[in-house]
C-alpha cells in the first residue's frame, strides 16, 4: 500500500497530541487546535483521494472511519462535556499512531 495522502498532517497531529497528553491543558488549548487542524487536513486529503476514485479496498474506507473516530475523541477533549476524557485521548493517540504507521 502506498502512503496515505495527508500522512504528514497525521504526524504533526500526533506530535501535537503527545504534547497535549504530557501537559493536560485546560480546554481550547493551542495544541488541541493544532491537532484538530492537522487531523482535519489528514481527513480531507483522504476524502479527496477517495472522491477521485482512489478507494482501493474496504480497508481504505475503514481507515477514514478510524480517523473520524480519532477526530471525535480529540474534539471531545477540546470541548469536553463534564470530565475531560484523557484516557480515551491516549487510546485515540495510539490509534492515530497505528494509522499513520500503517498507511
Amino acid at each position: 500500500m502506498s502512503a496515505a495522502p495527508g500522512r504528514e498532517s497525521g504526524h504533526r497531529a500526533l506530535a501535537a497530541l503527545d504534547i497535549v497528553l504530557a501537559r493536560k491543558p485546560e480546554r481550547d488549548d493551542d495544541r488541541l487546535s493544532e491537532a484538530t487542524a492537522e487531523l482535519t487536513k489528514f481527513r480531507d486529503a483522504i476524502i479527496a483521494e477517495q472522491r477521485g476514485g482512489g478507494v482501493r479496498s474496504a480497508n481504505d474506507r475503514q481507515h477514514l472511519a478510524h480517523l473520524n473516530a480519532v477526530l471525535s475523541v480529540v474534539l471531545g477533549v477540546h470541548f469536553p462535556l463534564g470530565e475531560t476524557p484523557w484516557d480515551e485521548l491516549q487510546k485515540a493517540r495510539d490509534w492515530l499512531s497505528d494509522l499513520v504507521r500503517t498507511s
Binding site: 487546535s33 462535556l81 463534564g82 476524557p85
Partner: protein, 855 residues
C-alpha cells in the same frame, strides 16, 4: 404554571425579563393580577415599560442577580418569613448532607470537590449522607457520570431508606443550617454593595414578597433570557426556586417561576429538540465515554431507581420503536446502536470554533440568523467562510445568507467575496401562516395552527424540506452495505404527502410524537400506557395524549373557561404532560391532602372517591393516598419509594431540592460570582472572581477582558425591541415595522453622556477586544449610574436585533460579545460584559461604502 395563572398571584417579581415589551400578550395577566390587588415589582438594570407599569422598580447592575436573590434567601431565613409547614414537609430543608461538604464561605469561594486543573467539580461531598442521589433526567444531564459508572448500583442507596433528616433543623449539616451559613454575608448592605439596589428598597421588596406568600397568598417570579444568558444562568433560576420552595410558591395557584418563552416555538424546540444532547422529551443522548455501550447498560446507568423517572426505559424503547419501527427489535437492542453517541460539547459555541478549525464541512441553517444572533459575529463569519457549503432557508435575505458578500470582514477589507469558498444555497421558506403545525411556548402550551394561504413560488415549509431531505437521503443510502448507513436505512420515514407540492401531513408527525400501539396502530391516550417491551411506539412521551385518538388533535382545542368555571382553561389548547397546567400541583394541598386554604385551592384528596381531584389534572398518582408511606423493608422502587406527601415526583426523593446534591456542574447552592467580564472585583469572594466552571475559550479573536480592566470600564448589555421580531429580519424588511425602530442605537445615561461628551443622537463607537460597532446614542434616564463597592459604575445597553439587511439597519451588537458558556447549559453571556464607548465614528471606513447604519 399557566401564563394566565399569573392573574392569581398576590405579588409578581419580574426579573431578568422585560415582560411588557417582549411578551406583551402574556403581560395582560400581570395587569389583571395588579387590578385584583397584586403588587408588581420590576428588578432590572434598565427602566423600561415593564418598570413604568410596576408598583415598585428596583435597579440592579447586570449580572448581580444572585447577590440580590441570595440576599432574599438570607432575609427570609433570618427573619423566619418562610412557610414552615410547606418547606418542612415538601423540601429537603431538613436533609443532612455528607460530612465532607465544604462551602464557599470556608473555601475562598469554592465548593468542596473542585478540580482546579479540569475546572470541574466532583459531587461526592454534596450528597445526602450515606446516599448517592441521581439527578432528575433533564436537559444536559449526561455531562458527567454522577458517580454512576457502576451501572446505577450506587443509586440503589435511595431504595434502602429515606435520606437522613433532622426535622429540628439543628444538625450542623442539614440543608437549613448550610443555607444559613452560606448566605450569612448576603446582608442588605452587601446586596447594595454588589447590586447597587438601595438596601431599604431591597428589604421592602423581600418583605412584600414574603408577606404575599403562605397559606392564603402566593407570589410568582417571571424571567426570560435576562436570567439565562449569564455564566451563572442556571444558578440564578435556582436561587428563585429556593425562594419559592421556602415560601411555598410552587405547585399552587398564582405561585411559581414563569419561564417566558419566545414567539417562536422555543419551548417546543427543547421538548422535541434541535439540541445536540437530548433525545425528544428530555431523554439523555448516549455518551460514548459513559457506560452506554448497549441499551441495557445505558438504561441501567441513567434510570433513577426511585421517583417517576424510573419509567425512563418505557419512554426510551417506545422512542426507538417510533424511529426505527420494525428495524427495532429486542435482539438488536431496539435499534439503540443506530443512535449517534456524544463525545463532547457540540453546542453552538464549540461548533463555531470547530467551523473555524475546518472540522465542520457544511451547515443547514433553519429558523435562525446567527450572523446577527450568535455571539462574536466576526468569529462566526470566519467559521462560515471555512465551510464547504451552507444552506440557509428563510423568507427574506438574511445577514447569514449573504455574509460572503456584505459581512463584516468583507466590509473591513480583510477578505473579498471571491476569496470565500463556501458554496451558499439560499432557499425560500414559507412563513408561519403558510403552513400547518404547532407552536409550543410559554407554559408548555401546545397550540396548533392551520395554513392560511399557500406560500408563493418555490417557498416551502421547513417540514417539507426536512421530510424531502430525509427521503432523498434514504434513497441515496438505500443500497449501501456500510454499517454506518444502517441508521438512515432503518429510519421510519413514511409521512403522507399531499397535493401538487407534496407537502407532508403535519398532523402525521404529531400523531407519531403522541404514540401508538405497535400491533394495531391505535393512538395511545396516556403516557402511563407506554411499555418497555416494544409493544408501543412514541416519539416523545411528554406529548403522549395530545392526539389520543384518530382525528382528535387536542392542540386545536380553543375553549376558554367561562364565568363560574375554575379559570384553569383546560380546554384551551393542550399542555404537556397530560394537559396538566401546574407541575407538582400535589403541593397545592397540605400533607394530609387538604388545600392550604380555600382561596388557594387547586387539587385535593377526595376521601370518598379515594382519589385526587380538583381544578387541574393532578400531578400525582391519582389513587395514592396522602398517608401512604414506603415500606423500606421491601426496598421500594419507582413511585413506591415516594410517600403520599412527596409532591416533587420527578426528584428521586420526591422533595423540592433547595440544596442540589447531583446534576449541577457549578455547585449545590447559588453563589455570587461576578460575570466573566466585570468592571469590579467580587466583593463576596475576592479570590474567586467568576464562576470557576464557566466555559471559556480564549482563542485569538475571542479574547476576554480581565476583571476591572481600565480599558473597558463600562457594563454592556443587550436587549430586544417590541417592534423587532426575533433576530429582526422579519420586521426589518417590512416598511411599516421598520419605520417604528429605524436603526440601531445605544442607551446611555445622561451622566455618562455628559462625562464623555456624547450628545443625544450623536455617533458613538463601542469597543471590546472582539470588535467595535458604531451607533447613535440614545441619551436617556432609563439608565442610571450604579454605585458598586463604593465607586460609580456605568452601564450601557444596545438592541441586538439589527444588521445590514432590510430597511431598518444598524451595527450588529453581537460583534462585541465573546463566545463563553454556562457550565450547565453552554449558554452564552449576553447580558453582562464590559466595553468602552467614545463619541465619534469608526476609524476604518467601510470598503463597500455602505455603513450598516444610516448616515
Amino acid at each position: 404554571m399557566a401564563l394566565w395563572d399569573l392573574a392569581n398571584s398576590d405579588c409578581i417579581i419580574e426579573m431578568g425579563s422585560n415582560l411588557a415589551e417582549n411578551h406583551p400578550v402574556g403581560f395582560r395577566f400581570v395587569v389583571e393580577a395588579q387590578r385584583r390587588g397584586a403588587t408588581v415589582i420590576h428588578i432590572d438594570p434598565r427602566y423600561t415599560r415593564t418598570s413604568a407599569l410596576a408598583d415598585i422598580y428596583a435597579p440592579i447592575r447586570s449580572g448581580s442577580d444572585i447577590a440580590f436573590l441570595g440576599g432574599m434567601i438570607r432575609h427570609i431565613l433570618e427573619n423566619d418569613l418562610w412557610f414552615r409547614d410547606f418547606a418542612l414537609a415538601y423540601t429537603n430543608i431538613s436533609h443532612i448532607i455528607e460530612e465532607g461538604y465544604g462551602d464557599p464561605e470556608q473555601n475562598e469561594g469554592l465548593f468542596s470537590g473542585y478540580d482546579p486543573v479540569a475546572g470541574t467539580y466532583s459531587q461526592d461531598t454534596w450528597q445526602y449522607a450515606g446516599k448517592t442521589v441521581p439527578s432528575p433526567v433533564a436537559e444536559h444531564r449526561v455531562q458527567s457520570q454522577e458517580n454512576s459508572s457502576d451501572e446505577g448500583a450506587a443509586f440503589e442507596s435511595m431504595t434502602k431508606s429515606p435520606p437522613p433528616q433532622d426535622p429540628t433543623l439543628q444538625h450542623p449539616n442539614c440543608v437549613y443550617q448550610i443555607m444559613r451559613r452560606h448566605y450569612a454575608r448576603y446582608t442588605p448592605e452587601m446586596v447594595e454593595r454588589v447590586t447597587s439596589c438601595p438596601k431599604d428598597l431591597f428589604v421592602r421588596i423581600t418583605e412584600i414578597f414574603a408577606h404575599n406568600s403562605g397559606r392564603e397568598k402566593t407570589g410568582a417570579f417571571t424571567y426570560a433570557v435576562g436570567w439565562t444568558h449569564h455564566s451563572t444562568g442556571v444558578q440564578i433560576i435556582r436561587a428563585a426556586s429556593i425562594i419559592q420552595g421556602l415560601l411555598g410558591n410552587i405547585g399552587r395557584p398564582g405561585g411559581g417561576i414563569m419561564a417566558l418563552r419566545g414567539h417562536v416555538s422555543i419551548q417546543g424546540s427543547t421538548d422535541i429538540p434541535t439540541l445536540y444532547n437530548m433525545l425528544p422529551t428530555y431523554l439523555p443522548q448516549p455518551n460514548v465515554f459513559h457506560d452506554h455501550a448497549t441499551v441495557d447498560r445505558y438504561l441501567a446507568t441513567e434510570t433513577p431507581p426511585t421517583g417517576w423517572w424510573s419509567n425512563m426505559p418505557k419512554y426510551v424503547i417506545s422512542l426507538l420503536k417510533a424511529w426505527y419501527g420494525e428495524a427495532a427489535t429486542r435482539e438488536n437492542g431496539w435499534g439503540y446502536q443506530f443512535l449517534p453517541k456524544l463525545t463532547g460539547d457540540a453546542s453552538q459555541e464549540p461548533m463555531t470554533m470547530a467551523m473555524s478549525d475546518r472540522v465542520v464541512k457544511g451547515q443547514f441553517i433553519l429558523g435562525q440568523n446567527p450572523a446577527v444572533g450568535a455571539v462574536n459575529s466576526e468569529l462566526v463569519e470566519r467559521g462560515f467562510a471555512n465551510l464547504e457549503w451552507m444552506v440557509v432557508r428563510d423568507f427574506a435575505m438574511t445577514e447569514t445568507a449573504n455574509f460572503w458578500q456584505q459581512g463584516h470582514r468583507v466590509r473591513k477589507g480583510e477578505v473579498r467575496p471571491e476569496e470565500i469558498g463556501t458554496e451558499m444555497f439560499f432557499l425560500p421558506a414559507a412563513m408561519p401562516g403558510e403552513k400547518d403545525g404547532s407552536v409550543t411556548n410559554t407554559s408548555r402550551l401546545v397550540q396548533w395552527h392551520d395554513v392560511v394561504c399557500e406560500p408563493p413560488g418555490d417557498s416551502r415549509s421547513d417540514l417539507w424540506f426536512i421530510v424531502h431531505l430525509g427521503r432523498r437521503l434514504k434513497e441515496l443510502y438505500r443500497d449501501s452495505i456500510e454499517p454506518k448507513d444502517r441508521a438512515i436505512q432503518a429510519l421510519t420515514w413514511d409521512y403522507a404527502l399531499r397535493g401538487e407540492k407534496q407537502e407532508p401531513d403535519a398532523e402525521a408527525v404529531l400523531r407519531e410524537i403522541n404514540g401508538r400501539t405497535v400491533a394495531d396502530g391505535k393512538q395511545v391516550a396516556d403516557y402511563r400506557e407506554l411499555k418497555d417491551d416494544g409493544s408501543t411506539a412514541c416519539g416523545g412521551w411528554m406529548y403522549c395524549g395530545i392526539f389520543p385518538e384518530t382525528g382528535k388533535n387536542l392542540s386545536r382545542s380553543r375553549r376558554p373557561d367561562g364565568p363560574g368555571e375554575s379559570g384553569a382553561h383546560l380546554g384551551w389548547a393542550w399542555t404537556w404532560p397530560l394537559n396538566r397546567r401546574t407541575l407538582y400541583n400535589r403541593a397545592s394541598a397540605d400533607p394530609a391532602g387538604k388545600p392550604w386554604s380555600e382561596r388557594k385551592k387547586m387539587i385535593w384528596w377526595d376521601e370518598a372517591q379515594a382519589k385526587w381531584t380538583g381544578n387541574d389534572v393532578p400531578d400525582f398518582l391519582a389513587d395514592k393516598r396522602p398517608d401512604y408511606r414506603p415500606d423500606w423493608s421491601k426496598r421500594p422502587h419507582g413511585m413506591d419509594a415516594l410517600g403520599g406527601d412527596d409532591p416533587f415526583i420527578m426528584e428521586a426523593d420526591g422533595k423540592c431540592a433547595l440544596f442540589v446534591p447531583s446534576g449541577l456542574k457549578d455547585g449545590p447552592l447559588p453563589t455570587h460570582y461576578e460575570p466573566i467580564e466585570s468592571p469590579v472585583r467580587n466583593p463576596l469572594y475576592p479570590k474567586q472572581q467568576r464562576n470557576p466552571t464557566a466555559k471559556l475559550w480564549g482563542r485569538p479573536g475571542n479574547e476576554l477582558h480581565d476583571a476591572a480592566d481600565p480599558r473597558f470600564p463600562y457594563v454592556f448589555t443587550t436587549f430586544r425591541l417590541t417592534e423587532m421580531h426575533c433576530g429582526g429580519i422579519a420586521t426589518r424588511v417590512m416598511p411599516h415595522t421598520a419605520e417604528l425602530q429605524p436603526e440601531a442605537f445605544v442607551e446611555i445615561s445622561p451622566e455618562l453622556a455628559a462625562s464623555l461628551r456624547i450628545r443625544h443622537l450623536g455617533w458613538t463607537v463601542i469597543s471590546t477586544l472582539r470588535g467595535e460597532v458604531e451607533v447613535r446614542a440614545m441619551v436617556t434616564e432609563r439608565l442610571k449610574p450604579f454605585r458598586i463597592d463604593g465607586r460609580e459604575v456605568h452601564q450601557i445597553g444596545m438592541p441586538w436585533v439589527y444588521g445590514w439587511q432590510g430597511y431598518a439597519r444598524g451595527d450588529v451588537a453581537n460583534v462585541l460579545l465573546a463566545i463563553t458558556g454556562d457550565a450547565n447549559t453552554s449558554i452564552h453571556s449576553t447580558k453582562a460584559i464590559t466595553c468602552n464607548i467614545r463619541p465619534g465614528r469608526k476609524a476604518r471606513p467601510d470598503v463597500l461604502g455602505q455603513s450598516e447604519a444610516r448616515t
